[in-house]
Symmetry: C2
Subunit: 115 residues, 2 copies
DNA sequence: GGAACCTGCTAACTTTTCTTGGCATGTGCA
DNA sequence: TGCACATGCCAAGAAAAGTTAGCAGGTTCC
């Protein structure tokens, strides 16, 4: 049985690069305990909102967290983030397989690929 | 049973940062098939020796590959690299645990820690 | 001796990522 | 109206990573 879907090379790199950061690791850790909204999480982690914003965006882009906009009781718009229950196993074999699907940014990328 | 030792936060980040690179991913993939020496591997991958050198160094620093210096039959010194059979499982829970042991580079690091 | 291999290093440039600070918008409430 | 809280974005400087080019050392063999 396989718990993790076979990641493409580019996906794998995106996820790895995303997780290879203390702030983002802390974000994932915090969200794995309890979902949180941006401002509150920023206070909790002791970093600026702008900074957290960027990291959350990257985490979301990698599919590791998801955002849900809600209205609090007093009418404020709160953007709640929660962690995605991912499972990723890393071994030489997994990497070898992923490399097969690696996009080679040789000289030019095909347009329209990235958002 | 646990195949992977509990990674410390700093170790985890080092490994993730190391693997989050196309060149290094290709190196691991190549070495997982067969060990290779620097110059040969550089040719095989189509990159310069100097560049490969740097990436190999990082991979070794993260404990993902190991080097062994050997003498070929014709007396040349060959530095053979081979991949380490690592198994790393990544989940929110694993990350939450690793974060506990994260070194906080708050304002200053203690000297002599890093090379 | 010179060519063809192997190894390593470092300085300097380029590219990417990280981080900060400011600005704009909206809501509820005294 | 002004304060406190929420959201977002963008420009610009700072820091880190990636890459290249060049140098120096070693060995075999013609």
């Amino acid at each position: 049985m396989s718990t993790a879907p076979p990641p493409t090379g580019d996906d794998l790199i995106r996820v790895l690069a995303t997780l290879a950061n203390p702030h983002r690791l802390r974000v994932v850790a915090a969200l794995s305990r309890e979902r949180a909204y941006v401002s509150g999480l920023a206070r909790q982690l002791g970093i600026s909102r702008a900074l957290l914003q960027v990291h959350l965006r990257k985490l979301a882009a990698a599919g590791l967290v998801t955002a849900r906009l809600e209205l609090s009781e007093d009418g404020k718009a709160m953007n709640y983030y929660e962690v995605e229950p991912f499972v990723l196993t890393l071994t030489p074999a997994v990497i070898a397989a992923a490399v097969e699907t690696l996009t080679v940014p040789d000289s030019a990328e095909q347009p329209g690929g990235e958002r």
